[in-house]
Amino acid sequence: AMLDQDSGLSLTIARIVQRLKGSSLHSQLERQARVSLHKPEIKLESLKEDIKDFLKTSGWEKKLQNAVYSELNVFPSPCHPAAPPEHMKEPLAYMRKAQGSWEKRILKSLNSMCTELSIPLAQKRPASEQKELLNKWNEMGTDEPDLSLFRPVYAPKDFLEVLMNLRNPNYENGEQPSFRNHLGLIQVPLKVKDIPELKEDFSELGLNIGQLGIDDSAQVPPEFFENEHVRIGQKVLAEQDSAAAQQYVRQGCPTALRADLWALILNISNQPEDILYYEQLKSNVIQHDLLVDSLIYKDVKLTASNDDYYFVFEDYLYQVLLCFSRDTSVLEHFTYSSATPPKSYIRGKLGIEEYAVFYPPNGVIPFHGFSMYVAPLCFLYHEPSKLYQIFREMYVRFFFRLHSISSHPSGIVSLCLLFETLLQTHLPQLFYHLREIGAQPLRISFKWMVRAFSGYLATDQLLLLWDRILGYNSLEILAVLAAAVFAFRAVNLMEVTSLAAAEAVLADLSTLKVMPLLQIFLFATVT
């Protein structure tokens, strides 16, 4: 039986109340309410109303609103009360199974590396090493540990192979190509949107609506759109309204306001207890050495350090990612992620649950390119604990979906299928041609989407794209952009005769302007 609206709403309310009850916001509100009793405007006969008014005028109600809004954004709507918790993670059984097998493979790979190199998963650092690391904390990039024996646990292309082999056992999927099979690489029948639906969802990107990334170009006088948009942005920040900010950034963030707007949407305020928490994570890093640390080092050295613009932020990346690995609060996101954190047991206590720990402590094993999720944020945030919190929130809201197998509309499987379907439907000749020459489009665009285009676009363009991810609380725009890029370079792509040549045409995206591409693809292409 379908859940009716009222029960659904009360379930949601109950869940949010429960989550906020233990939070620091709750204790702050209590404290504020208690303090307000001393105020003359609070009268005993109308105590409840007066306190409520006080909380409204002092801005605390807005903070509560923002927290509730944040919860609504992050957690999916509850399913049927009788549904088991796995359904919140992933409702489809075959997807859950596939994710489980994938996780087993990753663990196997990690364990064999461990045994080969005889390095423990975790060990306590000797005091001298702790001291050295503390001194070097702001310049860990100068360290040159020998990382030659380490390899990334997996790369995006390995993950693509797994996704290509996904099958729904309830779906007739003969090996012979037929009208039932998809022409692309993804062979599961998930529901994805078509252009009319996308136009509705992304209506603020329409041709007659001002956008940053288009209407702030040098030729357009700022009185036309930009000045007013900046003014509204300042107002949104003054009001400290998360929901308004989320609506606002759909048209793009002015550079000077972006850091604050993103923090408002993600509900990050960098309170003293947050800074303390970060410092605690830092001391965990100092005290214990984890095997994944070497994977992180290797990844940063291979990817971000070699990037023309992100190399400067190398040290920040270590400061964020090493702490991230040790942050057990990240484990919370596994309630709504299809993934499950790997479990490890204290030596000699295999199978005994009291001695089980998650490894790494945050349950997330980094893969090749992982550090690129953090690098663009370094452009906006410089204070380590704030940078850290922003990244963590971005991860548990968005990025985790890009490397786990699920049926969620923003999950990587859906994004791949959306990309392939858009291309097939609107550029059938191109799609067919590329398929014929052995250059399945997804093979090229997959890495863009897994990394949310970080490292492929120019930084200012990337940030405009991520504005919209936050604004629409969805990653679908990544698939739309990928299709738009192919559409843009269609003429050249029609002339290539091999996968390598197709890769070459699409190798350099650094000159692309994201917003015009999206607008043209969604709103100016004949459907």
């Binding site: 702001n138 310049e139 990039g141 100068t142 040159e144 170009s217 040098a218 550079t255 000077a256 972006r258 850091a259 350090s305 070699n306 023309d308 613009y309 190399f311 400067v312 932020f313 190398e314 040290d315 920040y316 370094c378 452009f379 906006l380 410089h382 930084t459 200012d460």
Partner: protein, 456 residues
């Protein structure tokens, strides 16, 4: 064969014969320019991209027709040699103070306190004693690429330096004031080979002859609070093109780059040459230098990053302060540079930004490096040079009223140039400077509009 007619007659040049003293992007750009041909060895030329040593040896006895152009001013070293620059700036500052008061003169305070050595050593010691604990940097005036530079905090360090072999030796003796450990010069005579400097004005003529023999240094206050990005120090390279000093006409290129030190900034490692010098040439020899990495950002990137961090207002002030540096430095040598209609010059300005977002002038290069360290760099330099040649305008295509040519914006035309409108129009409303450093550079489009179908 008759000489091609000069551009002032209004007829386009048939063929421009060029000579080029360098290889790389300059030569490539000259060779590709339509209607330009490389002059054969003994042939006469209309355009010469020369190096400064040729200039020094030949300029004075080379006859040039009216239309001929050459890429240096005879005495460019008034800007490019650190000791001359500081002399000119100090003199200009004094003049400004006399004419316009202290506030106006304070706008010249973009050059860190500098003293010529050894001639101004007493003044230096006075300043040194006023500010104990401050770090100073010693730089040879004539060398480039970071050679011969070191930092010091104690006078004792200079004494050690003097004794070491690294310096080109002074052949005289240095009596020491053993109590305070500072040098004392002997009584100087104008013709002493050891001490080229006296308190007289005969400095200029003397130094020219003996450039290779005598090494003059400047001691400069080291900027201890540079703006850091990712914990690294950086400086800016900006390009300014001057086509005339009297009247002063100067153009600012929109592109440029920020050069990062490869290692993290800390004052503890004064001996670490590599940390403090951001010249790419020095960085290339640092042990962890990875040429594939590239340690440069385009100025556009820097401008965006600073805007994200400090807001557009603060960044606008910073860039306006940089405009002030360009203009004042050129004004300070306006009456000193030998004005010659044949000459133009492309300068590379090195600017350092401190943590208060104040820009400092480090030095001015009259022969900025035009070698390319990457594909992106090669393109930048080619575009820069092409636009330079458009402005020099051997082809006679410009009307002289342009405020923008390709990536160059006219920033001074015997007076400030405002954005928008035509050159020479009276300014209505607020004056906004016609500078776009670090802004969007759609040079191809602009050149198409300017020249029509002629190749860019």
């Amino acid at each position: 064969a008759p000489l091609p007619p000069p551009p002032s007659s209004g007829r386009p040049r048939a063929c421009v014969r060029f000579k080029c003293g360098l290889s790389g992007p300059v030569l490539d750009v000259l060779r590709c320019r339509p209607g330009w041909q490389q002059a054969r060895d003994e042939e006469e030329w209309d355009f010469f991209w020369c190096d400064v040593s040729w200039l020094r040896e030949n300029f004075d006895h080379t006859y040039m027709e009216d239309h001929v152009r050459i890429c240096h001013f005879r005495n460019h070293y008034e800007l490019s040699r650190k000791n001359y620059l500081v002399k000119n700036l100090k003199r200009f500052r004094r003049q400004l103070e006399r004419e316009a008061g202290k506030l106006e003169a304070a706008k010249c305070d973009f050059f860190p306190k500098t003293f010529e050595m050894p001639s101004e050593y007493r003044l230096f010691v006075e300043e040194f004693r006023k500010k104990p604990g401050v770090t100073w940097i010693m730089k040879p005036v004539g060398r480039s690429q970071g050679k011969g530079i070191f930092l010091f905090r104690k006078l004792k360090d200079i004494v050690d330096w003097k004794k070491s072999d690294n310096r080109v030796p002074y052949s005289g003796s240095f009596p020491m004031d053993t109590l305070s450990g500072i040098w004392l010069p002997e009584k100087l005579s104008v013709f002493s080979p050891s001490f080229p400097y006296t308190t007289l004005k005969g400095v200029t003529a003397y130094e020219q002859k003996d450039e290779t023999q005598i090494e003059t240094y400047v001691a400069q206050q080291y900027i201890e609070n540079p703006y850091l990005i990712g914990g690294r120090k950086f400086d800016l390279r900006v390009y300014i093109l001057v086509t005339s000093y009297i009247p002063l006409k100067a153009w600012l290129y929109r592109d440029g780059f920020a050069r990062f030190s490869n290692t993290r900034f800390t004052l503890n490692s004064i001996d670490d040459h590599y940390v403090h010098l951001t010249n790419v040439a020095v960085q290339k020899t640092a042990p962890d230098y990875d040429p594939e990495k590239g340690c440069k950002w385009m100025i556009q990137q820097l401008r965006q990053h600073l805007t994200a961090k400090h807001g557009a207002g603060a960044v606008a002030v910073l860039f306006a302060d940089m405009d002030n540096i360009f203009i004042k430095s050129l004004q300070s040598v306006q009456k000193v540079i030998i004005s010659d209609k044949h000459c133009f010059e492309l300068y590379g300005y090195d600017i350092l930004i401190d943590r208060d977002l104040k820009p400092w002038l480090l030095e001015i290069n009259a022969s900025p490096s035009l070698a390319a360290s990457s594909q992106e760099d090669y393109e930048l330099k080619c575009h820069l040079l092409k636009d330079t040649l458009h402005i020099v305008d051997m082809e006679g295509r410009l009307s002289g009223k342009e405020k923008r040519v390709g990536g160059f914006d006219l920033i001074w035309n015997d007076g400030p140039v405002s954005r928008g409108g035509n050159l020479g129009d009276p300014v209505t409303g607020n004056f906004v400077a016609n500078t776009h450093l670090g802004c969007f550079n759609d040079r191809k489009k602009q050149l198409r509009e300017l020249f029509g179908s002629l190749p860019a």
